[in-house]
């Protein structure tokens, strides 16, 4: 997942949780980057027609931005579920965040063929838990 997709996913999750635009500060916090870096990427997303930034209000994704953000969130859910249920990784959230930048959507699609994911994914993503709300963790760790 490239950097732009990581931003889109983050904006989408914040936008959905707050039912309004995502503030630059909240985006920067979630991604652990400086507000200046966040601003720069938000500008790029705006240039590509993926987001609209309104001063003092925040960022809203365009329809195209939402489509890409949902794909990125789905990729993230696949990585989390794969780590938790196939490799039995307990710290799957932390590892998914570390790995998402290196795992492409096409690779995630292949991993998706050996996990059980609900049809409602990624709508079941719970930002509070930073994981799919339907993720079963009862599987014995494989390690």
């Amino acid at each position: 997942m490239n950097t732009a997709d990581q931003y889109l996913k983050t904006i989408y999750v914040i936008q959905r949780a707050t039912d309004g635009p995502a503030s630059t500060g909240a985006i920067a916090d979630a991604l652990d980057v400086s507000p200046a870096s966040a601003n720069e990427m938000i500008g790029k997303l705006e240039e590509r027609g993926l987001a609209d930034h309104e001063k003092y209000k925040g960022v809203r994704l365009s329809d195209d931005g939402i489509v890409r953000a949902r794909e990125a969130l789905q990729t993230y859910c696949i990585i989390e579920r794969f780590l938790a249920n196939v490799l039995g990784v307990e710290a799957f959230r932390e590892e998914a965040r570390e790995l998402e930048a290196v795992i492409d959507g096409t690779v995630a699609e292949r991993l998706d063929t050996i996990i059980d994911r609900r049809p409602e994914c990624p709508d079941c993503f719970d930002p509070e838990a930073d994981a799919c709300a339907c993720l079963e963790l009862a599987v014995e760790p494989a390690e």
């Binding site: 794969f82 780590l83 490799l87 965040r97 795992i103 292949r110 991993l111 050996i114």
Partner: protein, 161 residues
């Protein structure tokens, strides 16, 4: 969260290599499954292609496991992964795949993309791994080249049909 493609630790590298092993297992399982379920309908050229793909995946998996061994990290519990993948594909009917050659092309392209991204992420990092960096990159580049060759082979077979 890690913004930007970099591999920064032994553990992260090991996990990515483990994912590579699972991807190779998926390729091998799909190739076997195609070969078995379509046995009577497969011509010699496609049958050979699938057999080669399965053999190559097993070889790649062994090379990735050797890298993980050198990192001193436990590898994937392979038997469990193998059973899981087999159970999954055992339930898949031939018509669930979009054609054997197309599926094989996706396998090779996906593997190529995975190794290409991994190599880029290692090259972008100045982290020192327990494993010799040159050996790591040489191995991964060689596997990537074989995946690229695999894409070419499948494409050629598809073009002839």
């Amino acid at each position: 969260m890690s913004v930007g493609r970099r591999v920064t630790s032994d553990d992260q590298l090991a996990r990515l290599l483990q994912i590579g092993i699972v991807l190779e297992e998926v390729v091998e399982a799909r190739a076997h499954h195609h070969a078995e379920s379509l046995d009577a309908d497969l011509d010699d050229e496609v049958a050979e292609l699938l057999a080669d793909a399965a053999e190559e995946s097993a070889d790649h998996r062994a090379r990735l496991e050797a890298l993980i061994d050198d990192l001193g990290v436990e590898s994937v519990p392979f038997d469990e992964i193998e059973s899981l993948v087999e159970a999954r594909y055992g339930r898949t009917r031939p018509e669930d795949f979009d054609g054997v050659l197309y599926d094989q092309l996706c396998n090779e392209e996906t593997a190529y993309k995975f190794y290409d991204d991994l190599i880029t992420a290692i090259e972008a990092s100045d982290a020192e791994f327990t494993l010799d960096r040159d050996r790591l990159l040489d191995t991964l580049r060689s596997i990537r080249e074989e995946e690229a060759e695999g894409v070419r082979e499948v494409t050629e077979v598809m073009e002839r049909r």
